[in-house]
Symmetry: C2
Subunit: 118 residues, 2 copies
């Protein structure tokens, strides 16, 4: 009943390389939550830390640096006074949200937590 | 213009845990290609190795064990003779394909390879 018996291996490999890049960036703990917390709009560091809860300042800072360097998040400094730094999703970051939601929904439905606690 | 100013942190964390599980499983090199190579239908080990190309037998074997243990791929032994082992996507594996395609498309459009070669 499958219509395609041919596998385009080249396309698969390019796709796999792209996936590997995505997983390297997104595979770290809190990255998904940080991106999710920026969905409502720009936020400052303390505001993000409060919204997320449970993340240490140093980890949140690391994740924001990685996301900024990857072009998914922008960092804007308002010289004030008082100086205010805010973070926001870029167009690239916004574009990721549906894919991430899709993958998270799949994992919640189809990839149960390891049952070593049950 | 955003309608939701409220972040459901609990839902984000559950989603992030699910994402972390997905990334742990899927973040390894070749996993995406192996899943993609099973899309046309069940295949034997050598058939998969040929279709993928460039993957070593031991890595392909490891990936298949991981995917089988995670319930994304089924392993069927036909006692023959000759004995034949075939691999196929399970319902859980089939359900992952659209999410994986979505993420790969995002990465190809929005996450360029590191430019240290350019």
């Amino acid at each position: 009943m499958r219509s395609a018996q041919h596998v385009d291996t080249g396309a698969c490999e390019r796709s796999d390389e792209a996936l590997a890049r995505a997983f390297t960036l997104l595979g770290k703990r809190w990255t998904g939550v940080v991106l999710g917390s920026l969905r409502p709009g720009p936020a400052g560091f303390r505001e993000l830390a409060r919204a997320i809860g449970g993340v240490s300042d140093s980890v949140l800072s690391d994740r924001l640096v990685e996301l900024t360097e990857s072009g998914l998040v922008s960092r804007t400094v308002d010289p004030g006074p008082p100086v205010a730094v805010s973070y926001a999703l870029t167009e690239h970051g916004e574009a990721l949200i549906p894919a991430l939601t899709h993958l998270a929904e799949w994992a919640q439905s189809h990839l149960p937590p390891p049952s070593d606690s049950g």
